[in-house]
């Protein structure tokens, strides 16, 4: 029997077209998903904004959707989210960049072969596990260092989210640094530069767009992170700069509402879509700008 089943030219052509159409439908699922997300967030969000003005939502400083008098100022949640993202950046960016430079410039092939899987494991650990780690390990350590630390606090959540984004930054930076051609490094050495000078003044600037994009993507991930911050940072939507206090992020609020018995269509139910819409827009803008930076300022094409 032939591998390519013989059949009439017409039926074969029909089959070809049918398969192509079917595959196109598969590919369109992703487009439909995007449209679905936008549609769901916008329609449900609009219902919410019929009862609460967008101004009050965006600039209000009190968030008490469950307690009378109900107030819907998203700033406390937004500030909480920023606080976590900032802390995660302080922890994750230097460590991630350091690991990325080490992987790409310093590690031997053998060491790379060991370190890469370790970072992949670190990246593959579910976020709920990081939340557990924050509660049972990081917070007790913080309490020893700063006795005024609350049981739920922003610092422990920020630290574990920082550890979580570390492997992502490391591997994206590694990829970006590896696009810089060997010849450029060799030119640096030929001029008598040390390894430090080649790495930090030639290779890193050459990959600056990719490195910057990795920071933005990682921070966007920190903003959308849910389980670790829900477990570790608490459920206390207040405006504070003290990282040892309990706060609430946008994502943690959405989980809090979903865990409770909220009636579909009620104003509490609609808040999670308004908050979700805001979250979606923030991460979308960050992701798009990261892609734009890579496209616009890339010095070397990947090899």
């Amino acid at each position: 029997m032939s591998l390519y089943a013989a059949s009439s030219a017409r039926s074969r052509q029909f089959k070809e077209e049918a398969v192509k159409l079917l595959l196109l439908l598969c590919a369109m699922v992703s487009v439909v998903t995007t449209c679905g997300i936008v549609y769901v967030l916008v329609t449900e969000g609009l219902t919410f904004f019929q009862s609460v003005s967008p101004i009050e939502f965006l600039f209000g400083k009190v968030w008490t959707p469950m307690i009378e008098p109900k107030q819907f100022g998203v700033l406390p949640l937004f500030a909480g989210t920023l606080q976590i993202a900032f802390g995660a950046g302080v922890v994750g960016i230097p460590l991630g960049l350091g690991c990325g430079i080490f992987l790409s410039e310093y590690a031997s092939d053998g060491l790379r072969g060991v370190l890469k899987p370790i970072l992949e494991i670190l990246a593959g650990i579910p976020t709920v596990v990081y939340g557990y780690f924050a509660i049972t390990t990081v917070t007790p350590v913080l309490t020893v260092l700063f006795p005024e630390t609350e049981v739920f606090n922003a610092a422990s959540a920020a630290i574990v989210v920082g550890i979580m984004i570390l492997p992502m930054i490391a591997s994206l930076c590694d990829d970006a640094l590896r696009t810089v051609p060997i010849s450029v490094r060799q030119a640096g050495y030929a001029l008598g530069a040390t390894k430090l000078e080649v790495s930090t003044r030639i290779v890193v600037p050459g990959a600056a767009s990719g490195i910057f994009a990795s920071f933005v993507l990682a921070l966007s991930r920190a903003i959308g992170e849910t389980m670790a911050v829900t477990l570790a940072a608490g459920a206390n939507p207040v405006l504070t700069l003290n990282p040892l206090e309990s706060i609430q992020t946008m994502t943690a609020f959405m989980v809090q509402i979903s865990m409770g018995d909220v009636v579909a269509g009620s104003i509490e139910y609609q808040t999670i879509f308004a908050v979700g819409l805001l979250l979606f827009l923030i991460t979308l803008v960050m992701n798009l700008s990261a892609f734009w930076v890579v496209r616009r300022f890339r010095k070397y094409k990947s090899q």
Binding site: V31, F102, T194, T226, L279, T283
Partner: protein
């Protein structure tokens, strides 16, 4: 004016000569350069010190990252290993830590992951084949591609909102295994597509051309040669994305998986819980013994994940070495 110009030219020339002699000296004289000709020195000692210090800092960074993983694993094993026994695995959740177990969570996870695989694999691989084999460099292909890379960056909890409105309410599937699996499928679809495309890209064009030369149609070439050749890479991507789905929690909480389920799902329309949600529930309780239960649950989850990752690495190594063109 003229004299200053000439002077500056002379100066420049001298500088050039001096610096040439300075650099062209053998390295063992670097000390002298640093001390005597400080204006034009290359100060190698200081620069080497800095370079070495930087290396130490980098090694410290990497060590710290590896330490984090070790501490994390150590803490989980220290707290959880004592609770990990057959009783823990085969019991349903309970108010009493000593009686609590993860039987319903394990089965829930297995149900969700099986249905996620059923929904996402055909669609994901199909989309990858279309984008890589049919729509390369077409406008529609570009549009879909940009869309996929954006979808990959959408926070997972947003997929939960989508699932809640579309699957749970509009399609009236309720808080069921099917709703959860459909939501998860949409979440991991970009990962499967990207990995499969990469695998398809690795298949050399000669394979396609050889098939065409023997009279194969496009689909025959793809289904009989290109996809089988790319299968190890595709499988690796699928396994890794499914292992991501196993650990994912937030979207399932939004579509309504609950923590306390005292039964094994009976079918696709049954209510369910999954391992990460059970772990979340136990971690969020104040009692120490529930934290230890959470650690035991995490151990089971990590064993699942490590097995899947090991399988992926095994497939990648075994087949990619054999299939070299």
């Amino acid at each position: 004016m003229e004299t200053t110009n000439a002077q500056s030219n002379l100066m420049k020339g001298m500088v050039r000569v001096l610096s040439l002699t300075g650099i062209s000296r053998p390295v063992q004289n670097s000390k002298d350069i640093a001390e005597k000709e400080s204006d034009f020195s290359v100060n190698l000692r200081w620069r080497r010190f800095k370079a070495n210090a930087f290396r130490v800092v980098l090694i410290g960074t990497v060590t710290l990252a590896v330490m984090m993983l070790l501490i994390l694993l150590y803490e989980i094993i220290r707290q959880g290993a004592g609770w990990l026994n057959w009783n823990f695995i085969t019991s349903f959740p309970s108010r009493f830590p000593a009686k609590a177990g993860i039987w319903s969570a394990i089965w829930g996870s297995l149900w969700v992951i099986t249905f996620t695989a059923i929904f996402s694999i055909p669609v994901g691989v199909g989309a990858a084949v279309y984008l890589e084999e049919y729509a390369k460099r077409s406008r529609l292909g570009n549009l879909i591609e940009i869309n996929i890379s954006n979808l990959a960056g959408v926070p997972s909890i947003i997929y939960g909102l989508l699932g809640l409105v579309v699957f749970v309410r509009a399609m009236a599937l309720g808080r069921s295994v099917t709703s959860g699996a459909l939501t998860m499928s949409l979440l991991i679809l970009p990962v499967i597509i990207v990995a499969s495309r990469e695998a398809l890209r690795g298949v050399p064009n000669t394979i396609r051309e050889a098939a065409y030369a023997l009279g194969a149609t496009r689909w025959q070439a793809i289904s009989a040669h290109v996809v089988p050749a790319a299968l190890p890479g595709i499988l690796t991507g699928i396994i890794l994305s499914l292992s991501r789905a196993i650990g994912e929690t937030a979207p399932l909480i939004l579509v309504g998986a609950v923590a306390y389920v005292a039964f094994v799902p009976e079918g696709p329309s049954s209510a369910f819980t999954v391992l990460p949600i059970q772990i979340f529930d136990w971690s969020s309780r104040p009692q120490e013994s529930f934290h230890e239960l959470a650690a035991a649950g995490i151990l089971v989850l990590l064993i699942f994940l490590l097995t899947m990752n090991a399988a992926a690495i095994f497939i990648r190594d075994r087949y990619q070495r054999r299939l070299k063109w």
